[in-house]
Structures are given as structure tokens and as C-alpha cells.
């Protein structure tokens, strides 16, 4: 177990290093000059060159990357080109909002997805099953931008149940979580359905039925715990999907998380922020996967870490 963890940690670090190198190289190769973005329209060529020199952007690629890495090891992600604030400060101030949204989204997708999957499995082959599976398919394929605006329009503007975007109370959290959750719920519904069908086919289920147990007891005490575990173990892997989703959802709802920060930075070619958010997301994804692997054997003793 320890050896396994050590190996995985080294792998994770290598992945992060690779991500940093690739992102840095892609941003370096962009046919857009960040210095001119900073300097603005009226800057003289002299001002532009001066800013370039001070940011170290006149150095060759490898030197720039080396400096970045050196600072990174000291926990310094640099200063935003446009906002001129420390990237660490910008990310730290926005991280709690993104984490909160992630928790909300996980709750939504589990609640909706597992319920849908359970009902579909029990009613396998019926119209209910088919309707739910079509619904899950729509949930998976609907663009989050559209889902978000639709929810906003119906529940906030027309019905007035929730605030129109923003951040602060649990009521602000519902619609963005739901928007994020609907996508995941589609996946979970499908996984839950097949996992449940698998379990229901097992011999011990037939035994339970033969014993004359009540239908509710069979489903909730014997089938559900076995069917749900492999599905829940997927949450760690979900982190990657979330990181993509928050860019869109946070923008629609005005949610002050790192997705919104990333989107703005991309539009303004604010390289230190793009690098920072990419690394933090990569870290979250690597960590999520690692956790998923570590908890897998606790959930299903048939899995062994080697």
C-alpha cells in the first residue's frame, strides 16, 4: 500500500510537471503578445520593450520556464499581467466558491442520477425506463450554457424562487449546482441502472426473494448498497468533468469561482492566471483520481492496490 502510494505520488508529480510544461509552451507559442495587451494602444515601442524586459519575456523559452518553475516551487504563481495582483491571492479568494459549487453539484447529480437509475433498473424495459434513459441522454448532451440560462429564466425570473445569479446564500447555490448536476446525473443514471441490473441478477437476490423478503427490503437493504458503491467511487474521476463545467456555469450565474477567473484570463491572454488555474485544476484532477483509486478497495474488497 505504501509503495503503491509512493509510486502514485511520483506519477502525479510527473503529470503536473508535464501539464505545466505543455501549457507554458502552448501559451508561449500563442501568436499574441501579452506585453502589447498590458501596454495598451498608446504605449510607445519603448514602453512596450521596457515592460517586456521587466517581465522577463525577452528571455528564451527555456529560461522563462525555468524561472517559472523555480518560483512555483516556492509557492509563487507570479502576478497577473492585467490585474497586477498575486495569482495565488486571486485563486485562493475564488477557490471556496468553486469547491462549494462542486459539493452542491455532486449532491445534485447523486440525488437525481441515483434515483433515476434505481427506478429505471427496477422498471427495466417499461416506458418509465425508456423515458428516464432518454431524459438522462438529454441531460448528458444539453449544453450547460443553455441549461443554465433556461433554469435561470424559469426559476429565477419567471417564478422568482431563486436569485438571478450571484453568490452568498444557499438559494444562490441551487441553480448553478443543478445546472452542473444535470450533466453528471445523466451519467450516474446510466451507471446506476446497469450496476443495479447487474446486482438484481445475482444469486443472492434470488435467495432473498425466495426467502419471501419484502420488495422494499430487498431493494434498499440488499441491492442498493451493493449497486451504489461502484458508482459512488466514480466521483473522484468526476473532478475533471467539473473543472470543464465550472468555466461555463460560473460565467452564466456570476459565480465567483476559479472557472470565471480562467475564462476572463483566457480572453485577456493573462498568462500567469491561465497557468495558475490550469495547474490548480490539474492538481485537483490528479488528486481526485488518486483518491478514487485509494478508496476503491475499501468499497469493493475484490480490488487490491498493487
Amino acid at each position: 500500500m505504501i509503495a503503491y502510494l509512493g509510486r502514485r505520488l511520483i506519477q502525479s508529480l510527473l503529470i503536473l510537471l508535464g501539464v505545466s510544461l505543455i501549457t507554458f509552451a502552448l501559451l508561449y507559442l500563442l501568436p499574441a503578445d501579452p506585453v502589447r495587451q498590458i501596454a495598451g494602444r498608446s504605449a510607445t515601442p519603448e514602453t512596450v520593450e521596457n515592460i517586456r524586459r521587466q517581465l522577463g519575456l525577452d528571455q528564451p523559452f527555456i529560461v522563462q520556464y525555468w524561472h517559472y518553475l523555480a518560483r512555483l516551487l516556492g509557492g509563487d504563481l507570479g502576478r497577473s499581467y492585467i490585474q497586477r495582483s498575486e495569482v495565488t491571492e486571486l485563486i485562493v479568494s475564488r477557490l471556496p466558491a468553486s469547491l462549494l459549487l462542486m459539493v452542491g453539484a455532486i449532491l445534485c447529480e447523486l440525488a437525481i442520477g441515483l434515483t433515476m437509475g434505481l427506478i429505471a433498473a427496477v422498471r427495466r424495459g417499461t416506458a418509465t425506463d425508456q423515458t428516464l434513459m432518454v431524459a438522462s441522454f438529454v441531460g448528458v448532451s444539453a449544453p450547460q450554457f443553455v441549461v443554465g440560462l433556461l433554469l435561470l429564466y424559469v426559476f429565477a425570473v419567471r417564478l422568482g424562487w431563486f436569485p438571478i445569479g450571484g453568490y452568498g446564500s444557499w438559494r444562490h447555490l441551487v441553480l448553478p449546482s443543478l445546472t452542473m448536476g444535470i450533466l453528471g446525473a445523466g451519467w450516474y443514471a446510466r451507471m446506476m441502472r446497469s450496476s443495479m441490473i447487474d446486482v438484481l441478477r445475482q444469486d443472492y437476490m434470488r435467495t432473498a426473494r425466495a426467502k419471501g423478503l419484502a420488495r422494499g427490503a430487498i431493494l434498499f437493504r440488499h441491492a442498493l448498497p451493493n449497486a451504489i458503491l461502484p458508482v459512488v467511487a466514480m466521483i473522484g474521476i468526476d473532478v475533471g468533468v467539473f473543472m470543464g463545467g465550472i468555466v461555463v456555469v460560473e460565467s452564466v450565474f456570476g459565480w465567483p469561482g476559479i472557472g470565471q477567473l480562467a475564462w476572463q484570463a483566457i480572453q485577456r491572454v493573462d498568462i500567469p492566471i491561465i497557468m495558475g488555474v490550469t495547474l490548480v485544476s490539474a492538481f485537483a484532477i490528479v488528486l481526485g483520481n488518486l483518491l478514487a483509486d485509494i478508496i476503491a478497495p475499501f468499497i469493493d474488497p475484490r480490488i487490491k492496490l498493487r
Partner: protein, 547 residues
């Protein structure tokens, strides 16, 4: 559309020169307007910085103006210069020395009195390369600028503190735009002790002399401005508080405005909802329309064949159906025939430009040796409505035989292509177009049409360089005497007329501003389309529900 009264500027500036500082009458703040109330303004993007030496986008520009002051400013809602922190000023007969008398008793938000030393410190700071100010170049006419810019000196030798309330500027050349330079944010006055206290984070902890002070800044969520009770300009500001909510999509902001939750959507009316808003009489009544110091244009690279032939460039000018393009963007603009926008001093009302005439355009193209047209590329920014406008231009060009392929790219990439001499034959400027830094005709020349901008990484994407016009521009800018400003404007009009003869651009339209406000917002319409304050003039507006 507001009309600029050139003669008024001349007259008022002259009056001030004669020492009539009392002519200000403190801008005649209406004593009947009661102070109080709070408003909410939304923005999609984070506010970059509130440091006046650094902030240079339309969003923080106006916010900085409310936190800080400069020696000069503009009459609210107009392009008319007036002294601000200065009480009066004098210009030497050769136009090379400007002496400003400062107002007494002006206090920074930290309580300390502002003096001439602070003015000098602020200018030394903005020109110091370490500050990385995008506006350093505006101060190039001050003596000693070159040494500071090169890092050889820490202080501008041409700026002298005569006494705590008098400051003198010596210039290397007469500069008619100098009073405007003293009004742009980059010259706004900052207190040394606060700058040193916060260092690179001063932009997050701004302390100035302005009408408002920063009360709260929660990153990514909101910025709150609170009324500066000690503001030197008695009677201003009218509002007690302004809350800027950050991170709101324009479409969400509009929905919130309709529910009465906010007062001004800072990013404007989203294009997709524009017609809906304008066709609803109740909402339309709350829209203020005004001109903007903006021109949208097509550049033609004069160093690349076949655009090195003036006839080809003129033919393109005649081929563009500007009315149709203006219609396409829901009439949110007016067709343009010259580089300067109509609200800019020096705009030539008599100038007719190139009329839309396909037959004549074809004939010119044939004369230029391209009877069957040619193939070329049109670069455009990839956000709506620019790709649609580029397609309309493409169709217009096709009608005279020019087959243009569209390169629809991110803003930074288009800017990079324009700054490369062999990068882009044609560029539609939408989304990156020139909005003046200050309301003076010279501001549309140097960087975008003059030889100085025709360098790698420059903004003169036509690569048009006419040395003769550069000399004429320098001559016009040496006419410093405000009494002769009408003559100076004529000189500038002539320069732009000559540019249109050479046709490095095809001017397409001048964007109009449409500011939507809540029913409770009060104040003259021109405060909501103020040429130097976007979206609105925060210091002078008020709310009706406290009246």
C-alpha cells in the same frame, strides 16, 4: 448626438488664462439635488486595477476618475476642458511652459492635504519604467522624460515645485494636447506614503482625492465605493454609495434590471436583447443614446500589393455598403466617412467622403489593373457581431470582384497580425477599434495613422506613413494658444481629409452608446453617455427616490 462647441472651449480656456479662476462657478452643481442613496452597477469581468498609473480599460477608467483627480478635467457630460485640482493655469507665449496654481485644502482619503509635491511625485512615478505604466508615453513632451524612461533619472527635470500650491512644467516642444494629458487618468495624483505602503498592490488599495473612496473590494464579487465626505468639490458626489457587482453576464444583468434589482448594466444592452428592449416603450424611455469617440474601420496594408495602389484602396472605400452594415447591428452606429467621429473636435462636417458606388469602384479597380479583381484576406475579431460584419464586407468586396477570405481570430491574434508588416492585407477593426484617450483630434493620428505607429508591434495596421502629414501634425500640435484652437482644428481637419484622399482606411461606422438605466436614476442625459466616463459619470448622477 451631442455637438461639440469648439468655440466654447476656446473661450473658457482663454478666460482661465486671463486668471479668471472664479469662472468655474464650481460647475454649478444644482443645489436642489439632495445627496443620498445607493446604486448598483454590474459588470461581467473583474476590475483589473484601480491604480491610475496602470488602469487602462474602459471599465476601470471611469471608476478611477471617481477615486482620483488630476490637474485638469472635463465639464460633466462634455469634452470641454476645465481646471480640476488646479485652480488656474498659465501658458507661456512659446507654448513650452505650463504653470498650474493648485487648489488649497484638497485632502487625500487618508486625511493629508494634497500639494504640488504629490503632483510631481505622481508624474515621476507614472513615467518610471518600474511602474510599467501603459500611459508613460503620454508624458513624452515633458523635459527630462527620456532620461526617466531610460532609467537614467528618477525624476522629471521639467517638473518644478515652485511652492506647495504652484507647479511648473517645461516641455521640449510646444504641445497643444498637454492640458488633455493633465486630464487623463495616468496623471492623476496619488499620495506617496500610501503607494509605498502597498507597493504593487496599490491598485487594490487606492487612495486619492476623488469624490468617492474605496470601502470594500471582495475579489471577483463586488467593489463598493463610499461618498468622500471631505470632497473638495462641495455638493458632490450626490450618491452615498455605489456597489459594483462583478461577474454578471450582460443578459443576466438585463433580467435583474428588469426586476428592479440593479440600476445600470455596465456592459450595456446585450446585442441579442437590443431590439426587444428598444421595441418596449417603457424600457426604451430609460435608454440614453449618445455619440462615442469611436470609429470602426477597415485597414488596407499600403505596403502590400495590390493595396499599395491608391486606386484599389479608393475602390474598396466605394464598394462598402455602410448603411447595410449599420442596419445589421440594429442601428447601433452611424455610417462614417472619415477617421474622426462626429463628436470629436476637428470633425469635418462638410467632408463627403466616398459615396457607395459599385460601378465606379469597378472602374477604378480596372484602372488599377485589376479588371477581374483579386484574392485577398480580411482579418476580423471572432466575437459577435464582428464575423457577421466581416461577411458583409466580404460580400461587398465580391460585388466588385475582390475575393476576400475571412480570418476570424481572437483579439490578441488580430492585433499581432496587424502589427506585422506582412501579416494582414485587410483588417476589420471591430472589437479593437480606436476609442480616443482624450477628446482631441491628434489622438486619432499618431499611433494609428502616423509614421510612429507604422512599426512592428504598432497599431498603424495600414502601415501608412506620410512624412508630409507627420510634419503637418507636429505643426498643428504646436499651436498651443487656446485662442487659436479653431485654427488648429482646421489644420487637423485638413490632415484627415488628405488621409482620406490616400485612403489607407475605409471608415465604416461610428458606434453609438446606448446606456440603459433604472427608473430611479436621475441627472441630465449627457451624464449617462459622458464621452470620458463609460458607462456613466458616477460623481454627478443621483437617485430620484431620495429627492
Amino acid at each position: 448626438m451631442r455637438r461639440f462647441l469648439a468655440s466654447t472651449v476656446a473661450a473658457s480656456a482663454l478666460a482661465l488664462m486671463l486668471g479668471m479662476a472664479s469662472a468655474r462657478a464650481d460647475d454649478a452643481v444644482d443645489p436642489n439635488i439632495k445627496q443620498g442613496g445607493a446604486i448598483t452597477i454590474t459588470y461581467k469581468d473583474d476590475v483589473a486595477t484601480l491604480d491610475p498609473a496602470i488602469g487602462y480599460d474602459w471599465q476601470n477608467w471611469s471608476m478611477i476618475k471617481s477615486l482620483f483627480d488630476g490637474l485638469m478635467d472635463y465639464e460633466p457630460g462634455t469634452t470641454k476642458l476645465k481646471p480640476d485640482l488646479a485652480e488656474s493655469y498659465e501658458i507661456s507665449p512659446d507654448g513650452k511652459t505650463f504653470t498650474f496654481k493648485l487648489r488649497h485644502g484638497v485632502k487625500f482619503h487618508n486625511g493629508r492635504e494634497m500639494t504640488a509635491d504629490d503632483v510631481k511625485y505622481s508624474l515621476d512615478r507614472v513615467t518610471n519604467p518600474k511602474t510599467q505604466s501603459p500611459g508613460a508615453g503620454f508624458f513624452g513632451s515633458i523635459k527630462g522624460y527620456d532620461d526617466v524612461a531610460a532609467g537614467k533619472a528618477q525624476s522629471l527635470s521639467g517638473v518644478t515645485v515652485v511652492d506647495p500650491y504652484t507647479i511648473k512644467f517645461e516641455l521640449v516642444r510646444p504641445d497643444a494636447t498637454f492640458l488633455h494629458v493633465m486630464a487623463i487618468n495616468f496623471s492623476h495624483v496619488v499620495p506617496k506614503e500610501e503607494v509605498e505602503k502597498y507597493g504593487a498592490d496599490f491598485g487594490k488599495h487606492p487612495v486619492g482625492t476623488g469624490a468617492f473612496k474605496l470601502a470594500e473590494w471582495t475579489l471577483g464579487q463586488r467593489i463598493v465605493f463610499e461618498r468622500n465626505a471631505d470632497y473638495w468639490h462641495k455638493g458632490l458626489p450626490h450618491l452615498d454609495k455605489i456597489t459594483f457587482e462583478i461577474g454578471q453576464e450582460p443578459i443576466v444583468a438585463l433580467l435583474r434590471l428588469q426586476k428592479g434589482e440593479i440600476d445600470v448594466p455596465g456592459d450595456g444592452i446585450p446585442p441579442a436583447k437590443f431590439q426587444e428592449v428598444m421595441s418596449d416603450p417603457e424600457q426604451k424611455a430609460r435608454v440614453v443614446v449618445g455619440g462615442q469617440l469611436h470609429t470602426g474601420y477597415i485597414t488596407m496594408n499600403t505596403t502590400m500589393a495590390p493595396f499599395d495602389n491608391v486606386k484599389v484602396r479608393q475602390a474598396v472605400n466605394m464598394a462598402i455598403n455602410k448603411d447595410r452594415i449599420v442596419q445589421m447591428i440594429n442601428n447601433r452606429a452611424v455610417p462614417a466617412n472619415q477617421p474622426l467621429p462626429p463628436s470629436m473636435p476637428g470633425y469635418d462636417k462638410a467632408f463627403k467622403g466616398y459615396a457607395y458606388d459599385v460601378a465606379k469602384a469597378k472602374a477604378l479597380l480596372a484602372e488599377a489593373g485589376h479588371p477581374d479583381g483579386f484574392e485577398t484576406q480580411l482579418f476580423a475579431m471572432n466575437t459577435d457581431p464582428n464575423p457577421r460584419i466581416a461577411q458583409a464586407i466580404q460580400q461587398d468586396l465580391a460585388a466588385i470582384g475582390i475575393k476576400a477570405s475571412i480570418q476570424s481570430l481572437a483579439q490578441a491574434n488580430v492585433i499581432a497580425a496587424g502589427g506585422d508588416k506582412a501579416g494582414a492585407p485587410m483588417i476589420w477593426s471591430g472589437g479593437m477599434a480606436w476609442i480616443a484617450d482624450f477628446p482631441d483630434p491628434s489622438n486619432f493620428y499618431g499611433p494609428i495613422l502616423g509614421c510612429a505607429g507604422a512599426v512592428p508591434g504598432g497599431w498603424n495596421w495600414s502601415w501608412y506613413c506620410n512624412k508630409d502629414l507627420d510634419a503637418k501634425a507636429a505643426e498643428a500640435d504646436s499651436v498651443v494658444d487656446p485662442a487659436k484652437s479653431a485654427d488648429r482644428e482646421k489644420m487637423w481637419s485638413a490632415i484627415y481629409d488628405k488621409i482620406m484622399e490616400d485612403a489607407p482606411w475605409a471608415p465604416v461606422f461610428n458606434e453609438q452608446r446606448f446606456t440603459l438605466k433604472s427608473a430611479r436614476m436621475g441627472g441630465a442625459d449627457n451624464l449617462y453617455v459622458d464621452p470620458v466616463h463609460i458607462p456613466i459619470n458616477y460623481d454627478n448622477v443621483y437617485v430620484k427616490d431620495v429627492q
